[in-house]
Structures are given as structure tokens and as C-alpha cells.
């Protein structure tokens, strides 16, 4: 099924794009990550211009996270207060990200920086997740994952002033911590065209020490609003949102997201985490190869 993309300026096989949407949708349904980290590089690999890929992936992630937010909010799984703080930070971050994006683009290093970010972020998080899930698979009797009492936030978070009570997260911490986290995720979203869920979920768990019940829902809530803003920023600055491309991705990803939530309800979480870790590591390795051994293209062309 050939589809012509009016902004990307080329024809693609629509079914491939939809299939890609399904794959990322399943990821988002199962793990509560947006799946943008998979969409953007694969779209670029398929020949879509990088800016169009990042902008349209952001639009897709919005759609994939909507149904997740609804589902989690019905189960009291969204801490709106915490979400509000991270979204506020994310707004600042997305705008900061746009400025950084333009600076890097005029310096000619945007693609390099994006690649480095991918390798570092995905490599670290994938590695951590893989280790954790392998350990919990090796010691199935050891109840490492069911120790809510030992949950605590990072000492740095505890040292921040002006503490608030976040009831649903079960926290009494300064809002500055989540605010800064929001800013970082906002910048990443703008630069990498990802929702930042793969970064936000572990940060909420291990740095903020939020209750595991609300982590995925709150992260999705944050992703939802940040990707909306990022789409708008891209529409204004890069003008690279391809509505046809985003639409195709959406058809796949909203369906995939629903399938994903079904899978999540019966599969073993350790297995799921190992799968996600493998995917994340594979992408990180692919990009590291590109960065360290041989780039796909030595020469790149940009319009003046």
C-alpha cells in the first residue's frame, strides 16, 4: 500500500509504517513507555528525514499514551499532583530543548548529539533493566520485587527545601525534584522525539521513590502533555510534523497499545522487562556502532 507523505516528500509503504506503529504501541501498552525511542530511529532508517521522523513520532506517542492514561486513571494509578509538577517542568524543558535544538542545528552537530544521547540513555537504562530482570529471574524465590517498605528516595531529593505531600505517590518531598526531572525529560523529548518514559519510569521509581502503583500512569500522564507541547513546538519551528505519517503510525500504535495492555495482564513482568531491556540494548548497540565504527553516511546535506 503506497502512501505519499506530503511533508516528508516521499512515498512509503503504508503497511510498514502501520506495523511499526503496532510494535511501538505494544511496547507502550506493556511497559508504559511511549515507544518513541523505537519509532524515530526506525523511521530514519527507513529513509524519512530525521526532523520529520522526530516530529511525527512525538505526535504518535501522544496517541499511544492517551488510552494508557485513561486506563490507569480508572485504577487510581495517576498522581495528578506529581504529574502536574513534572508537566510544568517538562514545558520549560521542551522550550529549552527547542532552543538547544536550533543551536546544535546551526552548529551542525544535532545528529551527532542525538546519536550520543540515544547510546548513553538507552545503553544505561537497558543495561540496568537487563541486570535487574536477570537477577529476579535467577532468584525467583527471593522476593526482591515485593519490598515496598524498603522503597526510599535518593538522599539528594531529601535535601531539597519546601516539601510537599504527594498523597498518591506516598511521598513527602520537595517539588523541585520532580520539577527538575520534568525539565530533563522535556529536553530529551524535544531533542530525541521520544516521550521519555524509558527515562521517567526508572527515575520515578529509583530517584524519587514513588509508589510503584502510580509510576506508569503518572509517567504516561506526563508523556501525554509533553508530546502535545512538542508537537506544537515542532509545528511552529521545524514545520516537520507530517500528518499522514503520524496518522499511519497512530492507526498502528493505538491498536498496539490496546493489545499491549492485554499482554501485560498475563505475561510475567520479569520476562517483559527482559524483553524491553533487550530491545533497548539492541538499539543502543546499533547506534553505538553507527557512532564509533562507521556512520551510515559520511556526507549529509542540509538546506540553507
Amino acid at each position: 500500500m503506497d502512501v505519499y507523505l506530503p511533508i516528508a516528500n516521499l512515498a512509503v509503504d503504508g503497511l510498514v509504517i502501520v506495523a511499526l506503529g503496532v510494535a511501538t504501541g505494544i511496547l507502550s501498552g506493556v511497559f508504559g513507555v511511549g515507544g518513541g525511542f523505537l519509532t524515530t530511529p526506525l523511521l530514519i532508517f527507513y529513509g524519512i528525514p530525521p526532523t520529520v521522523a522526530a516530529a511525527s513520532a512525538a505526535t504518535q506517542v501522544t496517541g499511544a499514551s492517551v488510552s494508557g492514561v485513561f486506563a490507569h486513571s480508572r485504577k487510581q494509578g495517576v498522581d495528578y499532583q506529581m504529574g502536574g509538577v513534572t508537566v510544568a517542568g517538562g514545558m520549560v524543558g521542551a522550550l529549552l530543548g527547542a532552543v538547544i535544538f536550533n543551536l546544535l542545528r546551526s552548529a551542525g552537530q544535532i545528529d551527532v548529539v542525538i546519536n550520543v544521547l540515544y547510546v548513553v540513555m538507552l545503553g544505561t537504562i537497558g543495561g540496568l533493566m537487563a541486570r535487574e530482570s536477570l537477577e529476579s529471574l535467577r532468584h525467583p524465590a527471593g522476593k526482591t520485587s515485593q519490598r515496598p517498605a524498603k522503597r526510599r528516595h535518593h538522599p539528594m531529593i531529601a535535601s531539597l527545601p519546601y516539601r510537599w505531600r504527594f498523597y498518591r505517590s506516598g511521598l513527602y518531598i520537595s517539588p523541585l525534584g520532580p520539577l527538575i526531572l520534568g525539565v530533563v525529560v522535556g529536553i530529551l523529548t524535544m531533542l530525541m522525539g521520544v516521550g521519555g518514559g524509558f527515562f521517567m519510569v526508572p527515575a520515578m521509581l529509583y530517584i524519587l521513590g514513588m509508589s510503584a502503583k502510580v509510576v506508569v500512569g503518572t509517567s504516561l500522564f506526563n508523556i501525554l502533555f509533553i508530546t502535545m507541547l512538542v508537537t506544537m513546538v515542532h509545528a511552529f519551528t521545524t514545520r516537520a510534523v507530517d500528518i499522514v505519517l503520524a496518522g499511519l503510525l497512530l492507526v498502528g500504535s493505538v491498536t498496539g497499545a490496546q493489545l499491549g495492555t492485554k499482554i501485560a495482564s498475563f505475561a510475567k513482568p520479569e520476562h517483559l522487562r527482559l524483553v524491553l531491556a533487550t530491545i533497548v540494548l539492541a538499539i543502543a548497540l546499533r547506534m553505538a556502532f553507527n557512532l564509533g565504527v562507521r556512520p551510515d553516511e559520511v556526507y549529509t546535506v542540509v538546506p540553507l
Binding site: 503506497d2 502512501v3 505519499y4 506530503p6 511533508i7 516528500n9 516521499l10 512515498a11 529513509g47 505526535t59 504518535q60 501522544t62 496517541g63 499511544a64 499514551s65 492517551v66 488510552s67 485513561f70 486506563a71 551542525g108 552537530q109 545528529d111 551527532v112 550520543v116 502535545m228 508537537t231 506544537m232 515542532h234 509545528a235 511552529f236 514545520r239 510534523v241 500528518i243 499522514v244 503520524a246 496518522g247 497512530l250 492507526v251 493505538v254 491498536t255 497499545a257 490496546q258 553507527n290 557512532l291 564509533g292 562507521r294 556512520p295 553516511e297 559520511v298 556526507y299 549529509t300 546535506v301 542540509v302 538546506p303 540553507l304
Partner: protein, 253 residues
């Protein structure tokens, strides 16, 4: 076979106008003058054809070279280099006007037809493209960047060269197929046809192809550029709606 009909028409009407001309006359034609970028467009196959008419009926052997060029754009080419173990963008060169599309077809390899100087004058072939770098840059470096650019665009299907891509029948009629990929940009494309004998261009003619977007695709492009706010809002709205609708749909199943 439409091209033969068009040719016969051209042959019937041309001789009167060129009775006193000494040099042969080229009558070029293109199978389509409009390429519309819209749904279902996956590229096109242009047939460039025509005839060489010699008013004095001499039996001269011609070679034909056809060059199709897309609209030019100013671009910057970046070169990646390995610095501290990773590949980063290092050197750049800017070009004032580079054709977004270039295809050449010839009846024989270009250097069998003309010498290098003539090839460079008429830009016959990818090696003889006159890319105009802005700012001073040494020739060796310029050569490297130009080769990098041509190689990249060749792999994108935007630059191509077909040696022996022109078929001449009975010394009068010629035809060349030039494929147009889907990733071409809108604008005016110019096809130049050269008739060459003894290393000399004895006749040339141009014809045009317009590539443009229409209907929905044009609307999307204009909306994205002129109504960025509403376009962005629409994209956001669409994604929220689709996410919500899928949730409702699956809840019912």
C-alpha cells in the same frame, strides 16, 4: 506508441520552418509535462523522445545526450570525521545552487562522444556537474565534497547517469527512459537535449516538466507552513482522539 504519433505530427509541421537553416533541428518531446505528487505517486517514468531533422538530408551520424535537471537549491554539505573515537560532523561546504535532481542519458558513454571540456561546458554527466561552492575552498577538498554529495544523491535516486540510455533508430528518432523517484521536490524541471557530431554540439533544445503537489497534499503542505498553530492543534487533536477512540473500541470488544 503515443510518442510515435506525436513525432509524426512534429515531422509533418517542422520542415517548413527550418527550410533555410543549415544545422539540423532537434524536435524534443516528453511523455508527460506534469508530474503530480499525490497519494499513489511512487515515482514516474519519463520518456524523453524526439527527432533530429536535417534540412539538407545529409546522412550524418548523431549522438544524443539528454539531461534532466530539477530546481536548484542552496545547500550545505557536512562531512563526518572521526574525533576521539566517534564520528562527528567536522568540515562543511556551502553551495549556492545545486540541482535537486539530475539525470543524464546518452547514446554512448559521454567521453566517447565529446571531450572533457565540452562535457564540462554542457554539464554532461555526474562527473561534470558544475556545483558552485560559495566561499573559497581548495580544489582537492571541493572535489571530495562534490563526490560525496553526488554519491549520496545517487543512492537516494536523485542523481543518475545512464550511459547508452538513449536509443536512436534510423538516425532520426531517439528515445530515453528516465525514472523519477518519489522523493523529488516540487518545481520546474528542465530537459535539455543535445545532438552531437564529431565532438561538437550541433543542435540543442529544451523542454519542461512541472512537478507539483495538488489537492490534499498541497493543502497539507500549505497548512503546515501558513497555519502552523491550527495544523499543530489538529495533529494533537487527531492523536488524542484516535487514542481515546481505540480505548473505547477495545473496551467494547
Amino acid at each position: 506508441m503515443r510518442w510515435i504519433v506525436a513525432l509524426l505530427l512534429a515531422l509533418a509541421t517542422a520542415p517548413a520552418a527550418l527550410a533555410q537553416d543549415r544545422d539540423p533541428i532537434l524536435v524534443p518531446e516528453i511523455s508527460q509535462h506534469d508530474i503530480v505528487l499525490r497519494q499513489g505517486f511512487t515515482g514516474a517514468n519519463l520518456l524523453l523522445y524526439g527527432a533530429v531533422l536535417d534540412p539538407q538530408d545529409r546522412a550524418i551520424e548523431y549522438d544524443i545526450v539528454v539531461v534532466l535537471k530539477g530546481p536548484t537549491e542552496p545547500i550545505q554539505v557536512r562531512e563526518k570525521e572521526r574525533v576521539f573515537g566517534i564520528w562527528i560532523n567536522a568540515e562543511t561546504t556551502s553551495y549556492r545552487s545545486v540541482p535537486s535532481f539530475y539525470a543524464m542519458a546518452s547514446s554512448r558513454p559521454v567521453l566517447d562522444i565529446v571531450d572533457e571540456r565540452t562535457a564540462a561546458i554542457y554539464e554532461l554527466g555526474l562527473s561534470y556537474l558544475q556545483l558552485s561552492p560559495s566561499g573559497s575552498i581548495n580544489p582537492a577538498e571541493q572535489q571530495r565534497f562534490s563526490e560525496g554529495l553526488v554519491d549520496l544523491r545517487q543512492r537516494q535516486g536523485l542523481y543518475a547517469q545512464y550511459d547508452e540510455g538513449v536509443h536512436i533508430s534510423q538516425g532520426v528518432l531517439y528515445r530515453a527512459d528516465i525514472p523519477i523517484p518519489s522523493n523529488v521536490i516540487s518545481g520546474r524541471y528542465v530537459a535539455e537535449t543535445f545532438a552531437i557530431t564529431d565532438g561538437r554540439v550541433i543542435s540543442s533544445a529544451t523542454s519542461e516538466v512541472q512537478v507539483f503537489k495538488k489537492g490534499f497534499e498541497l493543502g497539507v503542505e500549505e497548512a503546515a507552513n501558513d497555519y502552523a498553530f491550527f495544523y499543530g492543534l489538529f495533529a494533537v487533536g487527531l492523536s488524542v482522539f484516535m487514542g481515546w477512540a481505540a480505548g473505547r473500541l477495545f473496551a467494547m470488544i
